[in-house]
């Protein structure tokens, strides 16, 4: 079940950190960075069925079920 409510301890800090990590990267390097971030996050979650839900939610492009 996707948690739609705010759970982040520092939302503005998260956004800033993501943007900063990508600064000055080529599109290709940026894409690989995102891929590394996603893989590391997926492993933090562990349960692939949860990650599949996240993928499906993201694929809906922001619309909820």
């Amino acid at each position: 079940m996707i948690d739609a409510e705010q759970r982040l301890t520092d939302p503005d800090g998260l956004f800033e950190a993501l943007v900063a990590a990508h600064r000055d990267l080529t599109p290709e390097a940026s894409r690989r960075l995102d891929a590394r971030i996603i893989l590391l996050l997926a492993n933090q979650i562990g349960d692939v069925s949860v990650v599949r839900e996240v993928i499906a939610a993201a694929a809906r492009g922001g619309a909820s079920e």
Partner: protein, 539 residues
């Protein structure tokens, strides 16, 4: 100097017209295996092959443990083990760094290793000899099945021979004529699945090299920066090198001796001495027919399903097809089962094929990522794999062939007791274990080899009081923890451990060594019912 001389089989004139019982079209690894299996069960077979020799090139070199057990049942296990290169381990490299190693058989107490590498031509030559020795296989070389008519009462087959076209009839046709099967084409049967466009180059080189026998796989190594490379050791100092070339490579250019030499020299170093024995360029598909049984025609091996080579699931999957069909066809022909049993070939081998296709497709998507996003994820996995152990589990250079677990088969009798996971559930292939018989070392699976069903009974004679097994039409094999007379002595306790068996446990095994049913206590009526279910007979 080639390391191997190809036999030339004799063309003995065209096949006689008439009606035949079982006809096998295609004398490759799978066709020869099913012919031998049937002949050893006493079934007469006509085998047609368009060539008059064995596999050109080493081709399917990795014989998995399950395949070795099947060949042991067919009398060839020791010969393959003696000649082949045994390996259990694989190492994956990214650039020049080892990122991941795996051991496919980490425990002791198995007759056969995870894999033996052997050139396909040796296996085919020995299978041919073994078929001939049965006296029941009529081998017809330079006979190509070119046309087929699938009738309710039999198959009419058009065969091209050096003496012209012959027409024969068959009760049953086993199509083992490979990925370009003229039989599936003749019947207009479509394949569904994926076609991959990356080209690969196989080079077999002969060289003296002191290196452990393991599977080595590189992603983007310095000597081949934009592709993968796979290395396997074969007998006769032959080494298989498989280079990924990408989708735009021209196969003819890439096969030229100068280019091949340059690629190999870049890999092995400027001072390496080697000879090139065989070169082949290939692409592959991961796909299958919708059904493998079409009335009186069965499709086996590449004629039924095709996979990428990563995972060694092609040849090994095909040998398991043969193992699955042989006993069923024999049972139907001899009247100990109805023809309904033959439908279970689809019920069992289609899920097995899907498992192979899925594993092989996933490996291919990793090795040859399509599109920028796929490549980014693939490269990210490899980049993380050095420092992060979790990422090593995502590195996919091929998930190697495992025996199919026929979990959903209608032939299985579901458990009526609680059993732990991994203890040989109905549908799984019987696990081997070391035993002793009359003071000599032996193996459990060697005693699961008859035409019929085997009943493993764990314990001693007193654990099975008044067991009137004679009426069951199963062959009892007593596996004893104490080594009582006439029993297999489970001296290391591994057989009992692997089956989670206690005194009184009974396991019913099919002729292909798969588990049909199991019980905590002997129940003769339940065994009789399970045996009938495994033969698709009315219960």
């Amino acid at each position: 100097m080639p390391t191997h001389a190809y036999p030339q089989f004799t063309y003995d004139g065209p096949v006689a017209p008439g009606r035949y019982g079982v006809v096998v079209a295609g004398g490759g690894l799978v066709g020869l295996t099913v012919a031998l299996d049937l002949a050893r069960r006493g079934v007469r077979v006509l085998l047609l092959d368009e060539d008059q020799t064995v596999s050109q090139g080493s081709r399917a070199i990795c014989f998995a443990k399950r395949t070795l057990e099947i060949y042991d049942r067919l009398g060839l296990g020791a010969r393959i083990l003696a000649k082949g290169v045994v390996w259990n381990r694989g190492t994956v490299f990214f650039h020049d760094r080892a990122v991941y190693s795996f051991d496919l058989l980490p425990e002791l107490g198995h007759c056969f290793p995870a894999f033996v590498n052997l050139q396909q031509y040796y296996a085919e030559e020995w299978l041919t000899e073994a078929c001939r020795a049965t006296g029941l296989v009529e081998l017809r070389w330079r006979h190509r099945a070119s046309g087929v008519e699938n009738r309710a009462d039999g198959v009419v087959l058009t065969v091209d021979t050096p003496d012209g076209v012959r027409v024969i009839a068959a009760d049953w046709l086993l199509a083992c004529d490979g990925a370009r099967s003229s039989i599936s084409e003749g019947l207009g049967l479509p394949f569904s699945g994926q076609v991959f466009h990356d080209r690969f180059l196989i080079v077999d080189v002969v060289m003296e090299r002191d290196m452990p026998a393991e599977r080595r796989f590189w992603f983007n190594p310095p000597f081949h920066p934009n592709g993968s490379v796979l290395l396997h050791r074969q007998p006769d100092n032959v080494w298989r090198i498989d280079f990924q070339l990408g989708p735009d490579a021209d196969p003819e250019t890439e096969k030229s001796p100068e280019r091949v030499r340059a690629r190999v020299a870049a890999m092995l170093g400027p001072d390496a001495r080697f000879e090139i024995e065989w070169v082949s360029a290939y692409t592959f598909r991961c796909r299958r027919l919708a059904k493998f049984r079409h009335g009186r025609i069965f499709f086996l091996g590449d004629a039924a399903h095709q996979v990428s080579p990563f995972g060694a699931r092609g040849g090994n999957g095909g040998v398991q097809d043969a193992d699955n069909l042989g006993w069923k066809l024999h049972a139907a022909l001899t009247g100990s089962a109805s023809e309904a049993l033959l439908d279970s070939y689809d019920a069992e081998r289609i899920p097995a094929s899907d498992e192979n296709i899925e594993a092989s497709t996933r490996s291919t998507e990793f090795i040859t990522p399509k599109g920028e996003a796929a490549r980014a994820y693939r490269d990210a996995v490899l980049e993380l794999s050095g420092a992060y152990p979790f990422a090593r589990g995502l590195v996919n250079s091929g998930r190697l062939s495992r025996p199919a677990v026929l979990a959903g088969s209608p032939l299985n009798t579901p458990d009526d007791a609680i059993w732990p996971a991994g203890s040989c559930a109905p549908g799984a292939v019987a696990i081997d274990a070391p035993v002793r018989l009359d003071g000599r070392d032996d193996w459990l699976l060697r005693h699961v080899d008859g035409d019929g069903f085997t009943l493993l009974l764990f314990g001693d004679t007193d654990d099975f009081p008044q067991a009137d097994l004679a009426r069951l039409a199963v062959r009892p094999v007593l596996v004893s923890p104490t080594g009582s007379v006439g029993a297999l002595w489970d001296h290391a306790g591994l057989a009992a451990a692997r089956y989670d068996a206690h005194p009184g446990t009974a396991i019913l095994l099919r002729p292909d060594q798969h588990v049909a049913a199991r019980w905590r206590q002997l129940d003769l009526d339940a065994i009789a019912t399970a045996r009938r279910r495994a033969l698709a007979l009315e219960i």
